[in-house]
């Protein structure tokens, strides 16, 4: 390889890194101050691009000058910043008093709504933006041609970094941002107007995302899928750099940019997973990211989020549970074939969601990659039936074992971390598992998956299979519920509320969490196996991020403070989706809107609202 090529390839990597840094810096600022895992950050990026492809050509009509081009870019960034402020004022502000995870759910609702709003406003066809006047050409560097606009991007990343540094160190607003990132409670206690600080941070964060999107228009066309393609990568950058650390994000972006640029030469197919491998490696070695710091509040006994009082079932609860089980068992008798199908899926998702809430609500272990164990269970069962020639029964036994084994393997590393870093490591492992299923075509069938995963003859009818699922799911939920009430469950809650104190009274926190992770993985695996046989096929979407997010949405809708909330949440989420999907092409908008409405009306979830009403 000649020097010219290496230099130019490295410059390409720097250009991508610059673009990525601008977006990720906004995300890391917002997280640092507000502790919100803002899924809508990708939507702000997309809106920035769409607004820019609308505004910039209009400005260029007046005069094709670079000044007007960059004026248009800045206008787009500010417009997106204003949208960020709107989101903070109308939505997030109402949610600061509820568990932090609910804000995540609300921003997920915003993602869904923005996706459809963009389709409605700008139409489904990708919109290419204009090239930047004066920067259309290529520049000769060591015998290779390199786009001038990318040279400009390479400069703008460090420039944004410098401006942010000035803002953070020379202005009161910036100093408050840094203070809040270090210790939010202390800033509040000192009498700083937190509402203003949060609104300002959201403006800055969203504007940076919008700027990132608007700067991309000479390179990529605005399309309605760009939000999800950027958000995971932006998360990875912020986590590798250390959440809340702007220089860390810059370092991580440069690292990822170079890795991509040279990675494609050696492993042309690895782009799918490269960043996640890097993130997993960094987090295993440096649990707070490259330049991140342990949270100042980490040692304090924080107000616990999750299951608080594990009261047993009273008479009303017993009645409701009995009715629910009876209704599920009666569906095949009274319902039509399709109702049976939906009820089967509700049961499966109820088990998966329950196992997730066992981790989140009971153990304080927030997993962003729970679908991995669901999917691995499905793959184990599906491959044993189609490739191994086994019947359904042993394959269904293998599903929880596979889910549990992989959960034990990944969990060994996961439980060493805490908080958002733990969540991101679960996401990284889920993506690695996803990439293996996606890429290992000979065994897993690649993204086409494997078809022909049908139940044994005796269970082939929808009705009989419904009873199979009902028996497995209900028994598994009852068993897991017993674990919640057992000393093991109480130990997990103790470790969740104060790791130090639990440790001080002689609890081996890590081992307990590891066992809990394995158990939850096994239960999710069982749900995945049941799902595979109800669909007849397996494919990588069963391990993918959207399904993990669906599971999170289910437990949050149900309420993570109650033991049975996850079940109610699964039923509600799946039913809402099933009602809206046939109604309109814009079902994602309705789904997002109803999630937001539910979060606002029942800020502690459906079951939480019920518990409040009972009390």
């Amino acid at each position: 390889m000649d020097v010219g090529f290496i230099v130019v390839q490295s410059l390409s990597g720097l250009a991508s890194a610059s673009a990525l840094f601008i977006i990720a810096s906004g995300l890391t600022l917002v997280f640092g101050v507000t502790r919100i895992v803002n899924f809508a950050h990708g939507s702000f990026y997309m809106l920035g691009a769409y607004i820019a492809v609308t505004v910039v050509p209009w400005l260029l009509e007046i005069d094709r000058s670079p000044t007007l081009f960059f004026t248009g870019v800045l206008i787009s960034a500010i417009a997106v910043g204003v949208l960020g402020v709107l989101m903070e004022l109308l939505l997030l502000r109402r949610l600061y008093k509820v568990p932090e995870l609910f804000q995540l759910l609300a921003t997920f609702g915003v993602v869904l709504m923005v996706q459809d709003a963009v389709l409605k406003i700008w139409g489904p066809v990708d919109i290419p933006g204009p090239r930047a006047p004066g920067l259309r050409h290529g520049v000769e560097i060591l015998g290779q041609r390199f786009p001038a606009y990318e040279l400009f991007l390479i400069v703008i990343g460090p420039a944004v970094l410098g401006l942010l540094w000035l803002l953070m160190h020379r202005t009161r607003f910036g100093i408050l941002i840094r203070a809040a990132t270090r210790d939010r409670e202390m800033v509040g206690a000192l009498g700083v107007n937190q509402a203003m600080l949060f609104t300002g941070t959201l403006f800055l964060g969203a504007a940076l995302a919008g700027l990132g999107g608007a700067l991309q228009i000479p390179r990529v066309s605005a399309s309605s899928q760009m939000d999800l393609s950027i958000i995971t990568e932006a998360f990875v950058v912020t986590v590798i750099g250390g959440m809340g650390s702007v220089p860390g994000a810059f370092l991580a972006a440069v690292l990822i940019g170079q890795l991509q640029a040279f990675g494609v030469l050696v492993f042309p197919k690895i782009t799918l997973v490269l960043v996640f491998l890097l993130m997993a490696a960094v987090l295993v070695v440096k649990p707070w990211g490259l330049l991140g710091r342990p949270e100042a509040a980490a040692g304090r006994a924080a107000l616990p989020e999750g299951i608080l009082a594990v009261r047993g079932f009273g008479r009303v609860e017993k009645l409701i549970a009995g009715l629910a089980i009876a209704a599920m068992l009666a569906v095949p008798v009274f319902g039509d074939a399709y109702t049976v199908k939906v009820a089967t899926e509700v049961l499966i998702f109820a088990l998966a969601a329950f196992s997730l809430n066992f981790l989140v609500g009971n153990g304080g272990i927030v997993s962003f990659g729970h679908a991995a164990y669901f999917g691995l269970g499905a793959y184990a069962a599906g491959l044993l039936v189609t490739k191994g020639g086994l019947p359904m029964e042993p394959a269904l036994l293998a599903a929880p074992i596979a889910g549990g084994l992989f959960a034990a393997l990944f969990g060994f590393f996961v439980v060493r971390l805490s908080g958002i870093y733990l969540a991101m490591l679960t996401l990284a492992f889920a993506q690695i598992a996803y990439a293996v299923c996606f890429q290992w075509v000979e065994v897993t069938g690649g993204d086409n998956g494997v078809v022909g995963v049908w139940p044994s003859a005796w269970a082939a009818s929808r009705q009989v299979y419904h009873y199979v699922v009902a028996a497995c799911a209900i028994l598994a939920i009852i068993a897991l519920r017993r674990v919640v009430y057992a000393p093991f469950g109480a130990t997990l809650r103790a470790a969740r509320d104060s790791e130090q104190r639990a440790d001080a009274i002689g609890i081996d926190v890590r081992t307990h969490r590891w066992l809990a992770f394995t158990l939850a993985g096994g239960a999710a695996g069982l749900a995945g196996g049941l799902y595979a046989f109800s669909k007849g096929s397996i494919d990588p979407t069963l391990l993918a991020i959207p399904l993990s997010v669906d599971f999170l949405a289910m437990i949050l809708l149900g309420g993570i403070q109650t033991v049975m909330g996850a079940v109610a949440g699964a039923a509600a989420f799946h039913t809402i989706k099933d009602i809206f999907m046939p109604l309109t092409d814009f079902w994602r908008f309705l789904l997002g809107a109803s999630i937001i409405a539910l979060v606002l009306v029942f800020p502690r979830g459906l079951a939480g609202a019920f518990a409040g009403w009972r009390a």
């Binding site: 390409s12 489904p124 290779q144 990318e150 046939p582 092409d585």
Partner: protein, 408 residues
């Protein structure tokens, strides 16, 4: 839930009743009686650029068919459209809904290959006909083919072969491949490697790039391709990936003095966003609708433009042909029994707007073709030059290969 599903069904019934009434009012000979329902599921939310024009054209064709007397001796034809959620899990549930609650006689549609395969397997399990319209994967009619699944559109293999045969007579030896990293891209690349040596003896692959779908790192990819110094490039990227790749390649001079074969790039869905950046001289498959000047195809284009105030896309053409084939199938079978329908589909010839389309019984693949031509810049828009319709019948899998793949 029961209440809501009741209103949903009632709403649909009311809607179709109004539509039927309007049609009867329009012409005396219009279709009457219970409608024949076809369950159509597609990625209307996620792949709207393709699927909305597709649905529009089906509506256009179905209205025409019903005005002319419907199907099966006078019954109105009705497509029930549903979003497939773009995942196999959602699609299978929606398909069950269409078959059980909506009472559809059979299924049609789907966009993504994994969704198409999952629905195809469900159709096989439930013994219902499934006409896959858009999924391109070869597996659907080859290794994973089954008795109940038929495909209309030319498959990945067929379209790759159209391009490699268009390269016949060239002397381009050193080839680079760039394809999205999922089944469609991988199998197009595999087909290309197999077929290119038949057209250009001694051709070799000097570089391969497989960026993740929707996330191409265009600078790094273009750099890596240029470094291999190929004489020709086989491109499978489409959509936003294609725009980013082309812009980067234009600025860096990747396409200068290089022969490029490119899948689907000539389809309006993907050509329009390229705008004035459309590179000239690429050999592409596509749909140059503006060059159709006569016959029923022109009549359909005019009707489409008049009704939807939009130019037709490749999706529109596919939708229109789908409705024509379905109507012909129902008329020939004159029954809604799955087994009768499957038998009727075997070697069914339909006179469509693109000419004759036969559903080959051997691999259950339709002979609908596509256009092959050269990209050219006309004003600020890309177009196709020297385009010719490549009849799918000439590019089907060899019979021996089908027999080997579909054994068992």
């Amino acid at each position: 839930m029961a209440g809501i599903s009741f209103t949903r069904r009632a709403g649909l019934a009311a809607g179709s009743a109004i539509a039927t009434a309007a049609l009867i009012g329009a012409r005396g000979s219009a279709a009457q009686g219970a409608p024949v329902k076809v369950g159509e599921l597609n990625s209307y939310a996620r792949m709207a650029a393709f699927s909305v024009p597709y649905r529009n054209a089906i509506q256009l064709a179905v209205d025409g068919i019903n005005r002319a007397g419907g199907v099966m001796g006078g019954r109105p034809l009705e497509f029930v459209f549903r979003d497939d959620g773009s995942t196999p899990g959602d699609a299978v549930r929606v398909a069950e809904d269409l078959l059980t609650r909506e009472g559809c006689a059979f299924l049609a549609g789907t966009f993504l290959s994994n969704v198409g395969l999952a629905v195809s397997d469900l159709a096989n399990q439930r013994k219902k006909l499934f006409l896959a319209t858009e999924p391109l994967t070869d597996a659907l009619t080859m290794a994973q083919g089954n008795r109940y699944t038929w495909r209309l559109r030319p498959s990945t293999y067929m379209q790759t072969r159209m391009l490699t045969e268009a390269a016949r007579g060239r002397t381009t030896r050193r080839w680079a491949i760039v394809a999205p990293n999922y089944e469609y891209g991988q199998s197009a690349a595999a087909n290309f490697k197999r077929l290119i040596t038949a057209s250009i003896p001694g051709a070799e692959i000097v570089a391969e790039q497989y960026p993740a779908l929707g996330r191409v790192d265009a600078g790094a990819t273009v750099g890596a391709l240029a470094q291999a110094r190929p004489d020709g490039i086989f491109n499978v990227l489409f959509g936003p990936d294609l725009t980013a790749f082309v812009r980067e390649g234009n600025t860096r001079g990747l396409f200068e003095r290089r022969f490029v074969l490119s899948m689907l790039t000539g389809e309006p869905e993907y050509l329009i966003p390229l705008g004035d950046e459309t590179p000239e001289g690429w050999i592409v498959t596509g749909y140059p609708w503006e060059q159709i000047t006569d016959g029923p195809h022109k009549a359909y284009i005019d009707a489409y433009r008049a009704r939807f105030n939009d130019t037709p896309r490749k999706g529109s053409l596919l939708g229109y042909v789908t409705a024509q084939v379905v109507a012909n199938l129902l008329n020939k079978a004159n029954s809604l029994d799955s087994e009768v329908l499957v038998e009727a589909f075997k070697d069914l010839r339909t006179d469509t707007v693109v000419g004759n389309v036969t559903m080959r019984a051997l691999d259950q693949q339709g002979t609908m073709g596509t256009w092959v031509g050269e990209t050219v810049l006309r004003g600020r828009q890309g177009a196709m030059r020297n385009a010719r319709y490549a009849d799918g019948a000439d590019y089907l899998f060899p019979e021996a290969e089908v027999r080997a793949a579909r054994r068992g």
